[in-house]
């Protein structure tokens, strides 16, 4: 994999910010888009755009084919056994809300429990709190160790009373970079009669996801972090679960027939896809998936590992800089703080040098509390990130520290 070639595929990377070349280290928030994605969306609008699943005309048929091809691409990406197990959502947040609402209220019983972890994004916390308050399902939180790894013994102990119906944890922390031991989590969940779901928003960007090998029951991710458009995400779920679950949103496209007395539901996955979907975004997502698979996860993972090792070494050598999260298995997301400067000030100074990082609580307030901080700065890498960019980050951070000393 040649990073220079990849960079040429991302038009935005040739931008300058305040006269400096853009160094985009915020891919964990949202990744940049390759030309193939941009072209696929523009081309669809220019040549074949119409609504999907309803027109009998040429345009609608072409657009439906293109949109549905994304379902095949997503199934291939995750090694899903059945394309009908791919449900399109707006994003991971909606995917998890779908499960919390539909599986949570439709299948889980009051008195059962859901287990999440202490390092979840708000999107894997709040839907379960809403379910708890509406439906009487208990919410349990598995602790993490000081290194930022899931405390597996404590996690297993939470399931021992047999009340847990669902485990929903991150596959890779958006703050700490920690990759969780997904196979082991699934084994433990299943051994105690619980289903297992992963928030794969970060993980799917960095390593291959094989839902059949993982053995999990639900897996959620979002297109815009995988170099695709915003507004389209995926929930993968076992077909028998989707068939047993009641619909989430009601409306057009998700029905079989409607009378004022009663409606019946479309087959899965359409039962969960009410209304006109994100057609262009879906078409763009297929281009993103094809692009990622064209490079291959092996090369992506090797590049990311090299970047992460280099960044941990360079940032770790900066006096007064603390890195949050020291998991053995981790991805290219690094949270840090300088002793002399607040994260927002750090982000502003870096921005002036053309370096984009995120600063704040990263939609993970409970984790921030666990770490004993209000906010951190976070650098996150993409396939187009270079070693030189990480050097520029480290060099600039040294100067930031001097500025505030």
């Amino acid at each position: 994999m040649n990073v220079d070639d990849i960079r040429r595929d991302f038009p935005i990377l040739s931008q300058t910010i305040r006269g400096k070349p853009l160094i985009y280290l915020d891919s964990g928030a949202s990744a940049q888009k390759p030309r193939a994605v941009i072209d696929a969306m523009v081309n669809a609008m220019e040549t074949q755009y119409a609504n999907v699943h309803r027109g009998l005309h040429w345009m609608s048929e072409r657009t439906t084919d293109a949109y549905e091809a994304t379902r095949d691409a997503a199934a291939k990406l995750m090694n899903a056994g059945d394309r009908a197990e791919i449900v399109f959502t707006r994003n991971s947040t909606e995917a998890m809300n779908l499960v919390a609402h539909s599986y949570g209220r439709g299948i889980l019983k009051a008195g059962q429990a859901v287990v999440i972890s202490a390092m979840e994004h708000h999107s894997n916390i709040v839907p379960w709190q809403m379910l708890r308050d509406a439906h009487g399902v208990e919410l349990r939180v598995a602790p993490i160790t000081d290194a930022g790894e899931l405390d597996m013994a404590a996690f297993e102990a939470l399931l021992e009373d047999g009340k847990v119906g669902l485990v929903s944890v991150t596959h890779m922390s958006n703050v700490l970079g920690t990759v969780t031991p997904a196979e082991r989590i699934v084994q433990i969940a299943h051994a105690h009669g619980a289903k297992a779901m992963f928030d794969g928003s970060q993980a799917i960007v960095h390593r291959p996801i094989d839902v059949q090998a993982l053995g999990c029951d639900f897996y959620a991710w979002t297109g815009h972090k995988l170099y695709g458009p915003t507004g389209i995400g995926v929930l993968w779920a076992r077909r028998e679960l989707l068939e047993a679950m009641p619909p989430f949103l009601g409306g057009g496209d998700m029905i079989s027939s409607v009378t004022f007395e009663k409606s019946t539901w479309a087959q899965v996955p359409h039962k969960f896809e009410a209304g006109t979907p994100a057609i262009l975004e879906g078409i763009g997502l297929k281009a993103a998936i094809d692009y990622v698979l064209g490079i291959g996860y092996e090369a992506l993972a090797a590049h990311e590992l090299a970047l992460t090792d280099h960044a941990l070494a360079r940032l770790g050598a900066i006096e007064g800089l603390k890195i949050y999260g020291r998991a053995q298995d981790r991805g290219g997301v690094i949270s840090f703080m300088l002793d002399k400067a607040h994260a927002h000030d750090v982000a502003t100074l870096l921005d002036r040098q053309g370096i984009a990082v995120r600063a704040g609580n990263h939609c993970a307030e409970p984790l921030m509390r666990r770490l004993g901080v209000d906010s951190t700065a976070r650098a996150s890498f993409g396939m187009y990130t270079t070693m030189a960019e990480i050097d520029a980050l480290a060099d600039t951070l040294n100067r930031v520290r001097e500025f505030f000393t």
């Binding site: 607040h342 927002h344 000030d345 500025f403 505030f404």
Partner: protein, 153 residues
């Protein structure tokens, strides 16, 4: 390495860096008449403001505790200084002018008080940081109004 960040000196003037590091009013008041918290949930900045009134109901003293960036701490500290001796209405008017200044960078009717706050005018070039400068003011106004919490969202 001042050269690297030269253009940032508009934002991080010496007085901001100094007040951010060593605020003069950055403590809770032992006796106070009103207090309120300010919270910016998007970035995690938090501030609590305590106010003691003089017999004529003007502000005798303001203290604060802030967990936030240099801009928000310096803003709280300069605020505490400039609102001393002001009535509630005066303070609200000063905040309105201050808010205009940090949004636009200009201060059309700049009196002495506004000149004291002027080091924060550079923040207008950083739209995402304006809330850092206004958060302590939201908390102060909430305290004067008798509400307990304010948000700069």
């Amino acid at each position: 390495m001042a050269d690297t960040f030269d253009d940032l000196r508009d934002l991080y003037q010496e007085v901001i860096l100094d007040r951010g590091r060593h605020p003069r009013h950055g403590q809770r008041l032992e006796t106070f008449d009103a207090t309120a918290k300010g919270d910016n949930p998007m970035c995690g900045d938090r501030v609590q403001v305590w106010v003691a009134f003089a017999p004529d109901s003007t502000i005798a003293e303001t203290g604060f505790e802030a967990r936030g960036c240099a801009i928000s701490v310096a803003s709280a500290d300069l605020m505490a200084e400039t609102v001393q001796g002001r009535s509630k209405a005066d303070t609200a008017a000063l905040f309105a002018s201050f808010r205009d200044m940090v949004r636009t960078g200009v201060c059309p009717a700049c009196d002495t008080a506004m000149e004291q706050l002027a080091p924060l005018s550079g923040v207008h070039e950083y739209p995402s940081r304006v809330k850092c400068a206004t958060l302590p003011w939201h908390a102060l106004i909430a305290a004067l109004d008798g509400t307990k919490e304010a948000s700069s969202e």
